[in-house]
């Protein structure tokens, strides 16, 4: 499920752990249920097949304090998945509203933010297959 967006297996394991092993149990189960439904919807949509994400994304920061963030290697300050913003940009053309949506989606505990990001990624792909966007 994660491979199209996170090709590296180590990176994929990291995100999978954050989604499936971290955070409260009810959240993990909810994430799995919602991602499974989105996967099913993608499978049934036109142009079925492996997603090939290529649009613009925004980074998802590691949840560390600001002074720690500055100390980290610039290449390691984000999780190894970016959030696609193509569908969000079309749905929220107003930059203020779009920025608020983006900020809310990538904020919060890592398990929460990463679940949001993956759902947005799958929705972005699903909407593309349904004819919304390039």
């Amino acid at each position: 499920m994660l491979a199209p967006w996170i090709p590296d297996p180590h990176d994929r394991s990291f995100v999978a752990r954050c989604l499936g092993d971290e955070g409260p149990p009810h959240h993990r189960t909810s994430t799995f249920a919602l991602l499974s439904l989105l996967q099913r919807a993608m499978d049934l949509a036109p142009q079925a097949g492996a997603p090939s994400p290529s649009g613009p994304t925004i980074p998802v920061p590691l949840r560390v304090p600001p002074h720690v963030r500055e100390a980290l290697d610039p290449g390691e300050r984000e999780y190894p998945i970016g959030m696609p913003v193509g569908a969000l940009s079309r749905r929220f053309p107003d930059p203020v509203a779009r920025a608020a949506a983006v900020e809310s989606l990538v904020d919060g505990p890592p398990h929460h933010a990463l679940a949001n990001v993956l759902m947005v990624a799958m929705l972005d792909e699903l909407l593309r297959r349904l004819g919304d966007g390039p």
Partner: protein
């Protein structure tokens, strides 16, 4: 019963503080065997095994097999090969002596946190020729990153529980876990100690992203 030096237990604790339980146990079993033979190793188990479960476990394996339990760093090195850096929680001299040279391109740090008592960190780190950086506890998260790894030593598992040093529990908060890509446990004493693992803590094996 073989008469052993009365200070042996206290000496072992001092050595374990700076070498790690497993590494100190290997030395004490080897030297006790050399000086007193297998009966001396049995006497050491009898007198100190309940207090020092890893010493007891190493001695038991020695008495069973005639050899000290080995240390193989290849699987840990393989698991850490792609890491950008590794922060070691807990200390085992024998293990790190082998592991650090296998990872020349991976910066390694040692968290300066020991629950066993005062440690002369300069003396500990001097053995690694700057290949191991001292990391104060306050700087723990500065070693985080999307390709960073945490490593600790495991002294056997029992069902879903792993015997670890208590430092690991200090680190394994829900805030830190998602800040490191890998949470590696290196089991130095598969099968674990035969006696209650006094001085050790338990962690669910699921808290590791990998156990080697």
């Amino acid at each position: 019963m073989t008469a052993l030096p009365p200070s042996l237990g206290r000496t072992f604790l001092l050595a374990a503080g700076e070498l790690g339980f497993f590494s100190a146990a290997r030395i004490f079993v080897r030297e006790t065997s050399a000086a007193y033979g297998p009966d001396g190793v049995r006497a050491m188990r009898e007198q100190h095994g309940r207090d020092y479960s890893v010493l007891d476990g190493v001695a038991a394996r020695y008495l069973d097999t005639g050899a000290l339990p080995g240390v193989d760093a290849t699987r840990a090195a393989e698991a850490l090969r792609d890491a950008s850096r590794v922060l070691v929680v807990g200390f085992e001299a024998d293990a790190l002596d082998l592991l650090v040279p296998l990872l020349p391109a991976v910066p390694a740090g040692l968290l300066m946190q020991r629950s066993l008592g005062p440690v002369d960190w300069d003396r500990v780190l001097a053995n690694f020729d700057d290949r191991l950086t001292a990391v104060p506890f306050d700087d723990l998260q500065k070693w985080a990153g999307s390709r960073a790894a945490l490593l600790t030593f495991v002294y056997g598992t029992a069902g879903s529980l792993a015997h670890v040093s208590s430092e690991w529990l200090r680190v394994m908060g829900p805030d830190v876990r998602p800040q490191f890509r890998s949470l590696l446990g290196w089991d130095l004493l598969p099968g674990g100690p035969e006696v209650y693992p006094r001085w050790l803590a338990t962690a669910d094996v699921a808290t590791f992203s990998a156990l080697v």
